[in-house]
Every structure is written in C-alpha cells, then in structure tokens.
C-alpha cells in the first residue's frame, strides 16, 4: 500500500477516534484524499521533490520507548531555567518533562481538552488559511498530540518553554504528525524552542504544524532548531496570526536532517505590529532545506523583517521562496526581505525567489537575494595573520551568518547554536563575538 492510501486507511480505521474536531478532521482527510501529496507540478513545490521521502515503508505510530533524562541533555538547554515538554514517538513523556505552569497553561493537546476546552475549541485550526498545502490538511486530519501553551492576559511566561519531539527504538521507519497550539493573550509574552530529534537512525518523517495566536501587545519568540539525524525528513508548517502592537519572531536554524521543508506564514491583522522571520541554513552532502515564507500585510502600519542566510557545501540544495503580500488598504507598510547565500562548491545549489505582491501605494518594501562565494581577499587577510585556511573559512562563514544569531534572545541557545555551527564547520575555535 502506498503512503497516501495507508494514511487514509488509518483514518478510516479510527486512528483519531475519540479525539476532538471530528468534522474538521473528516473534511481535511477528504481534501487530502482528493489532492494527495504535493508534487513538483505544484508551483509551491517546483524545486522540492517530496517523492523520494514518501517512498519508505513508514508505520504511522509506535509504542513508547525509553529515553533516559541523561541522553536528551545534549539536545536541550540545561543551564537555563525552562519548562520542558518531551514527546517520545508521538506520545508525551511525563517522566522526561518538567513543567510548573504558574504563569501559563502548558500541557498536551489532549490534556487541554480538560484543562482549557474553550480556548482549544476557539483557536485550534483557526490560524490556517482556507486552502492550505495538503500536508496541512493531513496534519489537521491525523495529528493526535502535541504542545498546548496558553499565556493569559498580562502574564509573562518567565521561563522559556522547550518542546522536543524524540523518536527512538522504533521497529521500522515512522511517519508522524505533530501539532502545537500556542495562544498568547493580550499583553502577554513567551519564548519557545522546538526541536525534532531521532535517536536510533531510523528514517523518521515528521509533518509538523504549529499555530501561534499572538493577541494585541503580545511578544512571542519562537526558535526552531533543526539538527536531526541525516535519516530524517521534516515538513514544518507554522502559522502565525498577529493582533495589533504585537511583536512575533520565528527563527529557524537548519543544520541537520536530509530533507527539510519550512512553510512559515504570518498574517498581520492588527496595526503597528512587527513580524520577524530569520534563518540560518548550513548544510552539506545530500541535504535539502527549503524555506517557503509568506507574510500577509492585511492592515496598515506594520513592519515585517525577513533575513535568511544559507551556506551550502558539497551537493547541498537550498530553496528560498519569500512571498510578501501587501493588501490594498495596508498603507505605510514596511516590508524588508533578504536572502543571502554562499555556495562553497560547484555542485551546491540554491533556488531563490522573492515574490512581492503590493496593492497599496504608500509603502516601503525591499528585497534582495545574493549568491556568492567567500571573498578571497578576506581569506588571504585572515591567513596572513596565521589563521589556517579552514579556520579562516569558518570565521568568514560565521561572520556571514552572525546577523541572524545576534538576534537570539536566550543566551544559552545562542551558545549552543555557536557550538553546532563550529562543529558543522569542523573547527575548534570559539566563534562568538
């Protein structure tokens, strides 16, 4: 049975029986049934062929397995006081998690049915456009579990919240649908990190979805650390809806995995709000990272800032597609987009495409893409000061990516990212400024 049929069969067999949103789910599985997985014939998937990822013989769920607290240490922030939510093979692990939610409700989606049913009902699925990617429909139909975060009005979640999805000890390759719902009420604040991590080298394919509702005057920072095993594939759908005077950031750091597709969508519904999308992609042999972003300026006086940096080694493949929509009444919009890339070899590639649709006349919008190599003069300068070629290269690459890193607000996360980058670049020098 092919993957699509398997998924539809699982739905028919009652994979989501007893879970909320039955009618929504049924609508979306029908949609998925009709349209199927995207192919390179779809404009949005022109440069990213999902087909090889779909070929494995995935199972759709797996029993819980043991992951000791020690073994996840490497993948989480340990020196920072945080809330930690750990999911193992799609199920929440009480044992590995630690939450004390004085300022906010932090629990699983299934717990939220009891703890915050009204909020769940009101917000679940409401961020998503009417005709999303079919993978969004698939997730909506079949996702069972994930993180639920609700920060009430005027509250600041003082500790960052870490969400980590682990797969381990699975009997065969696995296809998972994870889902997060984040609701940040008026004048509330939260910082969140998310990571998907496989432990056993099996092929794991995750179709993740996160909804973020940011109400008026709220501040949300969301950091995605994509550094999974080379056996893993990730489709990461993120939908953000912003009220007025609010500030949302989604930063994506893509280093690992063999296939990553990010679909990031911001909808600005309230005036004087700011959206930030930033990313560093640093990949090599047989890796692909695709960033599709969309920011929809539906109201006047908002600012969106987009900055993606990519470094591609060996035969790595990058795709960037950044859409900015400025609606007719969205006057005084400021929208900035940049996508800068370094290709380290002749076989690395990047397809980059800015797409600006501007229907208002009093706006400031800019976009710029660059594709280049490391500057020989700069390399010689560093080498003439005794810094070996490899280290000199690493310093320049780090410097190239630094504008993105410097915006990370959790110091330990920044350090961790620094270390991952140094490791990826194969150097033993401290890169931080």
């Amino acid at each position: 049975m092919n993957l699509k049929d398997k998924l539809i069969q699982a739905y028919k067999d009652g994979a989501t029986q007893g879970l909320s949103f039955e009618s929504e789910r049924s609508k979306h599985i029908q949609r998925f049934d009709e349209l199927g997985f995207p192919t390179i014939k779809d404009e949005e998937w022109k440069y990213t062929n999902l087909l090889p990822v779909l070929k494995s013989d995935y199972q759709l769920s797996e029993d819980e397995s043991e992951v000791t607290a020690l073994s996840i240490k490497e993948y989480i922030l340990t020196d920072t006081d945080t809330h930690l939510m750990v999911f193992v093979n799609g199920e929440y692990s009480e044992e590995l998690s630690s939450i004390d939610d004085k300022q906010a409700t932090i629990c699983t989606l299934s717990e939220a049915q009891l703890k915050a049913p009204e909020i769940l009902k009101h917000y679940w699925g409401s961020c998503i456009s009417k005709t999303p990617d079919t993978l969004v429909s698939l997730n909506t139909a079949l996702s069972k579990e994930g993180a639920f975060i609700h920060v009430p009005k005027n509250k600041v979640a003082e500790k960052p919240i870490q969400i980590i999805y682990i797969t381990n000890g699975v009997s065969s390759d696995l296809f998972l649908q994870s889902r997060n719902l984040i609701v940040v009420e008026e004048n509330a604040q939260v910082q969140i990190t998310e990571r998907h991590q496989n432990f056993d080298g099996k092929e794991v394919f995750t179709n993740a979805l996160t909804e973020i509702h940011a109400a008026d005057y709220s501040v949300v920072d969301f950091y995605k650390i994509q550094n999974d095993n080379r056996s893993c594939s990730l489709i990461d759908n993120t939908w953000v809806k912003q009220g007025k005077n609010c500030n949302c950031t989604v930063d994506t750091f893509s280093f690992g995995g063999k296939f990553i597709r990010n679909n990031l969508s911001f909808l600005l519904e309230g005036e004087h709000s700011e959206s930030n999308m930033r990313g560093i992609t640093l990949i090599g042999k047989n890796q692909l990272v695709d960033h599709h972003t969309m920011v929809d300026h539906a109201v006047p006086n908002c600012l969106s800032n987009e900055m993606y940096k990519g470094i591609f080694d060996d035969n790595a493949k990058g795709i960037f597609n950044g859409k900015v929509m400025v609606r007719p009444n969205a006057q005084k919009t400021n929208a900035f987009q940049s996508n800068n890339n370094l290709l380290l070899t002749d076989s690395a590639s990047i397809d980059t495409k800015p797409q600006l649709e501007i229907y208002a006349d009093d706006v400031a919008c800019s976009h710029g893409c660059t594709i280049g190599q490391l500057d020989d003069e700069a390399l010689f300068y560093l080498r003439s000061r005794g810094i070996p070629f490899k280290e000199a290269q690493a310093m320049l690459m780090y410097a190239f990516a630094n504008d993105v890193l410097s915006n990370v607000k959790i110091p330990e996360l920044k350090e961790k990212l620094n270390r991952i980058i140094a490791e990826k670049l194969g150097v033993d020098i401290s890169l931080e400024i």
Partner: protein, 251 residues
Amino acid sequence: MLEIKDLKASIDGNKILTGINLTVNAGEVHAIMGPNGSGKSTLSSVIAGREEYEIEDGSITFDGESIMDLDPEDRSHKGIFLSFQYPIEIPGVSVSNFLKTSLNESRKAQGLEPMPAGNLLKMMREKMELLEIKKGFLSRSLNQGFSGGEKKRNEIFQMAMLEPKLAILDETDSGLDIDALRIVANGVNKLKSKDNATIVITHYQRLLDYIVPDFVHVLYNGKIVKSGTKELALELEEKGYDWIIKEAEGK
C-alpha cells in the same frame, strides 16, 4: 633573515616582478619606494604568500629556508607580517576575537598552549596604549566602518600583538593625517629591535622622517633599479623619479 633572488612574478599573464634581488638582515629597516605600478604591493603580497600570483622564477628564503611553497598562514607562523595597504572589512568578526584566534593559532603552530584570557587581555591593553587606541575598539567588527587612520592603526596593533620577525608595511602612511602618522610610526619604532626587521613600502619621504631607514630601494618596472641610504629618499622627494627612470633605461 630575508633573501630574495632574481624573483619574477606575474598575475593573469602580466609580468609584474621582473627580477628582484633583496637581502634584509635582522635589525635593519628597508624602505622600498617607486612610482605607481612599479610592483611594490605585488612584492609584499608575494612575500606574504598571496596565491593569485604566479612565481615564474627566483627564490625567497627566510631564516635560511625557502618559503616559496608555504601557505600564507605558515609564513605568518614563521614570523612574516604584512600590514595591508587596504585592510579588509570583515563584518561579524570582532577585533578581539580575531586577535585571539590569530595569536592562538600562531602559538599552536609553535607548540604552545593558548594564551590564558587574562594575559591576552592584558597584552591587548598594553599594545592599545602604545598605539593610543580607545577602549571600545576591541568589540568592533574588524575594520568595518573604521576610518583610514583606524584601519592602519589596527594593522600596527595586530603587528604589535603578533611580534613578527619581519614586518612589511605596505603604504601604511596612505590615508593618515599627520597625528595618526606620528602615532603609527612611533608604534613601529617602539617595536623595533635588533632581532627583527622592517620593510617600509611608501610613495613619500614623509613617513621616513619618522621611521628612519637604513636602506632605500627604488623599484621600477618590477626591478630594484637603485639602492642607497636614507639620503636617496630625500633626493627622490626633491627631484622625483624621472632621473632614476632615465638612468635605469639608459643602462
């Protein structure tokens, strides 16, 4: 210390150096002068190991060993330092991190442990004082947004930190006002010892009032056409290069 014999070099098929002979001993200061396009900067780049140049003939030895096949970083580790005419701006790399990496990589090459952070900071402060560099300098991105004077001062600061045996100052005076020139020259003079040597590449006699050379060489068409003592520089200042060019072409 440095011995260059019949050095011929080209870039993209253009012959730039057409037979350089130069010997520099420890404790000496050599000035290399010459009109634009005579090959001064090429000579300094070739000594430092810039790979874009094709060496067609000749030899360069440093402390008795050929350095022709060495990478720029290895030449630096042996004690060769080039102060760039146009220092490169590198946003995102701070002066302090750059210096730390540079110094510790040099130490590593000599089999030494990295310098403890406290000592490093102390050393940086001392050298900054020598060059009258302000405090906030260390955390700035390397050369980014630096004025001409700051860039050149930063070059000499790096030189002070690395303590090279042979320093090549490529037009260090260009873009400097008279105060900055005095500070930079003063720095260079204080770093001078009987064990190290300096090659000063310049257009103008002005710098040589401050850094007094033992020898002055005139480079023309990729060759040293005349050598002398510091009086030669004064003569050039007064009479220009024409008479030397005529003399050289007359030969």
